[in-house]
Amino acid sequence: MKHPLIGLCFFAVIAFLPVFGDNYILRLGTMFAMYAVLSQSWNIIGGYAGYPSFATAAFFGLGAYTGAILQGLGLAMPLAWAAAGLMAAAFAAAMGAAILHLKGHYFAIASLVLAEVLLEITTSWTSLTGGGMGLNLPIIRMSVGAQARLFFWSMLVLAVLTFLMSWYVSAGRIGFALRCIRQNEDASSMVGINTTLYKVIAFVLSALFVGSAGALYASWVFYIEPPDVYSVMTTIRPIVMTMLGGPGTLLGPLIGSGIFLIIEEVVWRNFLSIHAAVLGILIVGLIFYLPNGVVGAAMRRLRNRSDKKTEGTTT
């Protein structure tokens, strides 16, 4: 029960960032919150259920365009964000029912294709989406500072909502079912778990807040175009962040998002031309040295220590 409190403290610390009043710090805070939404969402399907989903960019882009189009039609911003989340969730439910019977690499490729298909549709449907020209969003009449604070707080609220959703999942029946499915799907179905249902639930939950985050991102940057919001990096980042922090744990994605953002800011700004190589090395390093992320390594160390302690008391 101490895990959720640590997570909430984490958010509380982030919430103090506006005190610095610096727009750069606020931008970093907003980015962290967005990464936290994406990685925590991916953790549901990729971490708990163990299904390597590459669909994050599809949900993100779909949400961004849904939000942008609805706002263009005059819908209030928060409503557009909520609608974008629901749209992404509905899309995930339909697609999940179709591709979740695939396993391993096959599922990964099928989920990767979702973003490509949406990218093509968005680019060709010029009358609705503006095609390759991109889409401008309505200007908000507010000072730059006020805008920065508005999007920071909105994204942070979204990240906290995603955290509460993860908490609910990890502590309850859904998380239990997903952990069983990850370890042995056939055995899961033998002990009475409706595996298809729980996998679709996981896929939908991994899409809901990502869709909203996409719409929020669109409102934040005022202009979106297909290759930007359907970028493969949007898919890869949450996976790397979650693996870094600890897949299938409540705090892992948060810790991973924080570490990743720092690496991104410090290393990538200094080595702009080779940042792809840095990411590659990071992934290889992760697989070799931290297969269960920072949280996994910490838990193992703790367990070893307590084992030694009990040995010490018995001898």
Binding site: F176, R179, N184
Partner: protein, 203 residues
């Protein structure tokens, strides 16, 4: 029969309902449990969590504490209390077989299918396994046993069906089966069957 493989022909009925074509999770909720020849634990979970899974999903426990109570009961019944909080991956083979039985029991089954639960166990372990199976049966659970260890079959079963190359060749009580000519022929060969028939005719 538990929905893992679809039958190519014929039908399976349980409690008056056709269950062929149902999904494994649906059948498990009706009270039909099975164990596998190859054990299927959730390796990273503790013994307790392993046994709680069927209590929650198949038996439909309404709360965690209820599931834990049911799981603890099954764990104690199978003598796994010492290993309650160890991960399933650290159990011995005999321990994992017991865990499979505990998982099946936590489903509150009416029918239990045991697929060669004794394969790979040493004689002492088989003895304890037999006692457990008898104890489960005495609770009113119907057990269908798939087994080729004659010692196990003869000491446990009240009714035996003998399959040879997928076809039924005999059915009956243990003492009838041991006297059945086609069973003897299938298991011990033609010549032995003839010799045996001659011997019994002599007597």
């Amino acid at each position: 029969m538990t929905g893992v493989f679809k039958p190519t022909s014929g039908s399976v009925t349980y409690d008056g309902r056709r269950i062929d074509g149902m999904k494994p999770y649906q059948i498990s909720r009706l009270g039909v449990a099975r164990t596998y020849q190859v054990v299927q634990p959730f390796p990273e979970m503790t013994v307790l969590e392993n046994v709680m899974a069927p209590a929650v999903f198949a038996a439909g426990a309404s709360s965690t504490s209820e599931a834990m109570y049911a799981a603890d009961e099954a764990i104690e019944f199978l003598g796994l209390k010492q290993q309650r909080d160890t991960p399933a991956s650290e159990l011995t083979l005999a321990g994992r077989k017991r865990l499979e039985l505990a998982k099946s029991l936590a489903m509150k089954p009416k029918v239990l299918l045991l697929d060669e639960v004794n394969a790979g166990l040493n004689p002492a372990e088989i003895e304890t396994a037999l006692e457990m199976i008898r104890a489960i049966a005495s609770r009113g659970v119907t057990i269908i046993l798939i087994e080729h260890l004659m010692k196990v079959v003869m000491s446990l079963c009240t009714r035996i069906v003998v399959l040879h190359h997928g076809a039924k060749i005999a059915e009956g009580r243990p003492d009838e089966i041991t006297q059945n000519d086609s069973v003897i022929e299938a298991y011990l060969g033609n010549r032995y069957a003839k010799a045996n028939a001659g011997e019994t005719a002599d007597v």
